[in-house]
């Protein structure tokens, strides 16, 4: 077993990257080119797939493909934004709790349990009430809810790493705490944490779709897949494409991200590579 710089191959990682990459490509293209302007209602209402509207139109005569492409952008922004907030806030709180004395640790843990028990939708409504109904509000709400979960996981992982001999060994040779965190603690919690963050990305996409469905997400004309579902709900039997298309895209993105999470686990942890 040589320790070269091989990039380990993982079928799940490749499959996940293809699915999520598809959505990413669509989102990138949407910045440069759209089949129709997003607020163009010149088409007939509820047209079936065909030309010039490839997937059809919604009840206002807007092009569905255009909306789906913008929706991809919104979904990725929601996922990335929430994970960024969740990772930064959660990691900081989790590290603090992991290193804290008993008393502080218990307090932080109790707060985290309360935050986790709090429904994301309720949190989103509160944030929306305090700010406005926008993608930003949704992302903040989802990110905060996520940070509690990330913090709790980080806390446990940190405690487990700190109990290991190599931390003591490192301290006996005079390594300072900040250096131990950067060199030993973070790399050792990263394999588990990164998998969790990838899963959280998928959950954030779903959460944003749910919030938009409830009208708590990005306002029109910024199409979100969740709001497209809600708008097409009444006409599902007349024009099923309006429901099927955003539904399928949500599944593609979430499944793709989950496959990436699985693949990352195999790649991020060198002690697991040997079994491949």
């Amino acid at each position: 077993m040589t320790a070269g710089r091989r990039v380990p191959r993982s079928a799940t990682l490749v499959a996940g990257c293809v699915l999520a990459g598809l959505v990413l490509a669509v989102a990138v293209v949407s910045f440069f080119w759209l089949p129709f302007p997003p607020d163009d209602t010149s088409g007939d209402r509820l047209m079936p797939p065909g030309l010039p509207h490839l997937i059809g139109t919604d009840k206002l005569g807007r092009d569905l493909l255009t909306q789906l492409m913008i929706g991809a952008r919104v979904a990725l922004e929601a996922g990335a934004g929430s994970v960024l907030i969740g990772a930064v806030v959660g990691l900081a709180a989790g590290l603090a709790a992991g290193f804290a004395t008993r008393w502080l640790d218990d307090t932080v843990s109790a707060l985290l349990d309360i935050l986790i028990a709090f429904p994301t939708v309720l949190l989103a409504m509160l944030v929306t009430a305090a700010r406005d109904a926008s993608l930003g509000s949704a992302v903040i709400a989802i990110g905060l809810a996520m940070s509690a979960i990330v913090a709790r996981l980080t806390r446990v992982l940190v405690k487990r790493v700190l109990a290991q001999d190599f931390i003591t060994a490192s301290r006996t040779s005079g390594t300072s705490w900040p250096r131990i965190v950067v060199e030993h603690v973070l790399p050792n919690i990263w394999p588990t944490l990164s998998v969790n963050l990838a899963l959280q990305f998928g959950l954030a996409v779903l959460a944003e779709a749910s919030l938009s469905y409830l009208g708590l997400g990005a306002p029109p004309p910024n199409a979100s897949w969740g709001r497209m579902l809600q708008e097409a709900q009444a006409s599902v039997f007349i024009a099923p494409a309006g429901v099927i298309a955003p539904g399928v895209l949500i599944v593609v993105l979430v499944v793709g991200v989950n496959l990436i999470a699985d693949g990352v686990r195999d790649v991020a942890d060198p002690t697991r590579r040997r079994t491949r």
Partner: protein, 282 residues
Amino acid sequence: MTLLTVAGLHVRGPEGRDLVSDVSFTLGAGERLGLIGESGSGKSMTALAITGLTPPGLTVSGSVVFDTPGLDRGLDRIEVVGAGERRLTSLRGRLTSTVFQEPLTALDPLMRVGRQVAEPLRRRRGLRGRALHAAVTAALEEVRLADPERIARAYPHEISGGQRQRVAIAMALACDPALLIADEPTTALDVTVQADVLTLLDGLVEERGMALLFISHDLAVVSRIAERVIVLKDGVAVESGSVGEVVNAPRHPYTRELVGSARRLDGALDSAIDGAIDGRTP
């Protein structure tokens, strides 16, 4: 010259029970002291107290003083008990470093071996880049590891137990401490590898004139490497003296038991060998 003076060392657990009680000894520069006792006798706790690394919740009292002229800005005597964490961190590695029992858990599983050895070299000797790389290779060669370049690139799980312990020794020596603490360094190894690692440790400590605190439950191993020995039982030092005195004329019942069982094992081995020579079934 005295390097370390431990006087009236107590380590008290959270329930008020003494894990180590009233242990006192001195250790000269370059001297080798064995600390022997069964598991739970307070051997490792004594070692942790010397480095100021007792787990939170335990209270340490007594005094642990290092006499190291010129090591720390003209300050000759360094008291470890009660010293601040920041100050201890800057002293650890220079005063002491430790080789632990289980080399698999004492090495970071996710860091290549070379980087782990490089860390103390970088900090202590201020080496960077190519010079650091050369120093890592030299450090691995010094512990008689064949193919140090390959070992440096490996993760701990990719090398054998004996190789891992050699890496751990290289890491501890890279700090260039005045006192090396070896906490059961051969217990987790095969018997044949044990002998090699002992010989290696013996030679390296000799070469560098380091003091050695060797902790073990194995009387045979300790008597091979140490000059003096302290026997711990339930946190109390029940006997101390030169290895010859303790092995030949044990005074405390526990020590007698220890010597006796070591003899019995030896005797069993001898009779098995005799039996084989005589052609009888052993």
